[in-house]
Symmetry: C2
Subunit: 231 residues, 2 copies
Amino acid sequence: MSITLYDLTGAEDDRRFSPYCWRIHMALLHKGLDFRTVPWRFTEKDEIAFSGQGKVPVIVDDGRVVADSWAIAEYLDETYADRPSLFGGPVAKGLARFATDWTEQVVQGGIFRLIANDLFAHIAERDKAYFRTSREERFGMTIEALGADREARLPAFQASLAPARATLAQQPFLSGNTPAWADYALFGAFQWARAVSPYHLLAEDDPVHAWRQRLLDAFGGAAGRALGYAV
Amino acid sequence: MSITLYDLTGAEDDRRFSPYCWRIHMALLHKGLDFRTVPWRFTEKDEIAFSGQGKVPVIVDDGRVVADSWAIAEYLDETYADRPSLFGGPVAKGLARFATDWTEQVVQGGIFRLIANDLFAHIAERDKAYFRTSREERFGMTIEALGADREARLPAFQASLAPARATLAQQPFLSGNTPAWADYALFGAFQWARAVSPYHLLAEDDPVHAWRQRLLDAFGGAAGRALGYAV
């Protein structure tokens, strides 16, 4: 029986843009597990009420329900321990949490301000009021103010990637020679941008650009075929 | 035969302040290897000329010479594979490089500007001209300008630690339940500060503060006994 992933989408059913759902999409591919996705929108809280909370990703695996991307990753790695490890051992799992925290604390906030207006344009109409209110409360300013002056913000965003750039100048993935969870966490942030924005976040000669391309091409090009913009 | 570590020191023979040497000090303790240290100063290039370069850390292990902290870590983990692993497997090693790059790209530069004047005060007299010239060339300003306004810089430095703080609020070490290379890399930066500066870099209720204390206490309190300031 295949796993079901409730996957945030925009105005179109296949505009999958959640960075957290992309982590799980890549994790399921990494584990080689069969899965299907169900498009879900912010205001469809009833559709995932069975999970006891209101956010995606949520997976259903033969009746077992797991929410939260980190918890899902742990569930998949423990339940399907005979398949390629997502974390790669206890020390790697500890450090994967650090890389994930870095993605969330540094990278995602930077990307949000570079794509805020494009993102809002792709949100489903029925979700727009929810999205505007929740994000404007969180950040204390309008979507339009958040997204202003992106040209001026781009250099600081690119500078904030310096640690990943240094690593990826020396090895193909954050996780070494092959990708693992930490790569999918960071890649999720870039897939979020790619799904909704034509804005170029990375210079073509940036080692981070080459790394992103390797992940767009991974698993038969699954992520690269997803609806989005040329990056 | 014990390993010899050439270890940067200040005006006193036991003012060991190199963040890179501290990584190796902790790594040797982690591996449980016998070692002795030789105090070394910036201008004593002749003393380590046998290593083919002019920086510490350098180790000599039964005639084998290795320089550069990452190369030494790899050497120790490969040569003493029967002892506790410094990296913890291939994925962990990949991510350890990322955490090390984060330490170097984000944390060390931030600390330098908070301790620059204290650091200069503890450099050996014979090293001061070298230190001033090399650092002022690297940063394009005087030591005194680099070290100015540290009260104003402290909040941004503490904010830059957000990814480590988030991780260490959830687990005792960056590497998970027990420390490994990535912890020693970051800890080295704090030992550098502790050796030369009474300035408090971390609030007492910061999870990073508690983590640092765990490493000061590790291995029988070896790092905590080193000459330095109460932090």
